[in-house]
């Protein structure tokens, strides 16, 4: 059995592992970073620390990319190892428990972070492993340019 939190970004349905979710909040105040990537465009403050902002819309090609002065109405704070991520989303649906057999291999995407598909409220929902996604988009350390 797996506990999943379904979320939506534009019209795309995604589910993430409930165990990684530390908090669900409202709209995110964040700031863009120079040299940031489309997947990790900036940083936000959360519980007295700075956390990376992940733009799932950019990663999935789902909806408009996150813009500094427009946000999404919900934020998922998720943890992978020592890394915390703030993930702005449009909606967060009720968490659900699904049997492993209900999760079928992904058909609509083939990236490593897409670990399966499940039906939620009549929508094909992509099960995303945010840890794998984070490893795939982890920014490389920059050298200091002279």
């Amino acid at each position: 059995m797996r506990s999943l939190v379904p979320i939506t970004i534009d019209t795309t349905w995604v589910a993430v592992d409930m165990a990684t979710v530390r908090e669900i909040g409202g709209p995110l105040t964040w700031i863009a970073l120079p040299t940031a990537s489309a997947a990790l465009p900036g940083v936000a403050a959360w519980r007295g620390r700075a956390v990376a902002v992940a733009d799932l819309a950019a990663v999935l090609g789902a909806g408009e990319r996150l813009a500094a002065k427009t946000g999404r109405v919900r934020t998922l704070y998720v943890q992978h190892g020592a890394s915390m991520l703030a993930v702005p989303v449009d909606t967060v649906r009720e968490p659900l428990v699904v049997a492993d057999g209900e999760i079928r291999p992904p058909r609509i995407r083939n990236e490593a972070f897409c670990t399966g598909e499940v039906e939620v409220e009549g929508h094909t929902t992509l099960v995303v492993d945010l840890g794998v996604l984070l490893d795939a988009y982890r920014p490389a350390a920059a050298g200091v340019a002279h």
């Binding site: 105040t29 964040w30 700031i31 863009a32 970073l33 120079p34 040299t35 940031a36 990537s37 990790l40 940083v43 936000a44 403050a45 007295g48 620390r49 700075a50 956390v51 990376a52 500094a68 020592a82 890394s83 915390m84 984070l134 982890r138 920014p139 490389a140 350390a141 920059a142 200091v144 340019a145 002279h146």
Partner: protein
């Protein structure tokens, strides 16, 4: 509260600041004649148009102890920040963004970037091409 004095720049792209203790002076950009000034937000987009004649530079002592000018596009003010509101970048991003040391959370929850002067050494073209200057 422990306070840190900062020089804040209200850049239209992103608000940023440097520690006031590292600022030597603030002067009109047109009067700066040494090495080309640095646009610390160049990666976020071009310098905002307008105000070229009144644009200023924040002159700081860089890591090599030489004076470095940072282009300031926007209003400048000096103010204290609660040290607890200075949040270092997470490890995930710090290595890829060495020119930013931290974010600063204002009392209204808005954010600004604290520039890491040791990493700010990439100049922008200077003097400004005439075609650009006309549009500013």
């Amino acid at each position: 509260m422990a306070a840190v004095s900062m020089v804040h720049i209200q850049d239209p792209r992103v608000r940023w600041c440097v520690r006031a203790a590292r600022v030597l002076r603030i002067m009109p950009a047109a009067e700066w004649n040494a090495a080309p000034p640095v646009d610390v937000l160049a990666a976020l987009g071009p310098m905002p148009r307008g105000g070229a004649r009144t644009r200023r530079v924040v002159v700081v002592e860089a890591a090599d102890r030489r004076e470095t000018a940072l282009l300031a596009a926007g209003a400048i003010d000096v103010g204290d920040v609660d040290a607890a509101a200075v949040l270092p970048l997470p490890e995930l991003l710090a290595g890829a963004t060495p020119q930013i040391a931290a974010i600063i959370v204002a009392p209204d929850a808005s954010l600004s970037l604290l520039v890491e002067l040791a990493a700010v050494i990439t100049p922008v073209p200077w003097p400004v091409p005439a075609a650009c200057a006309r549009g500013w």
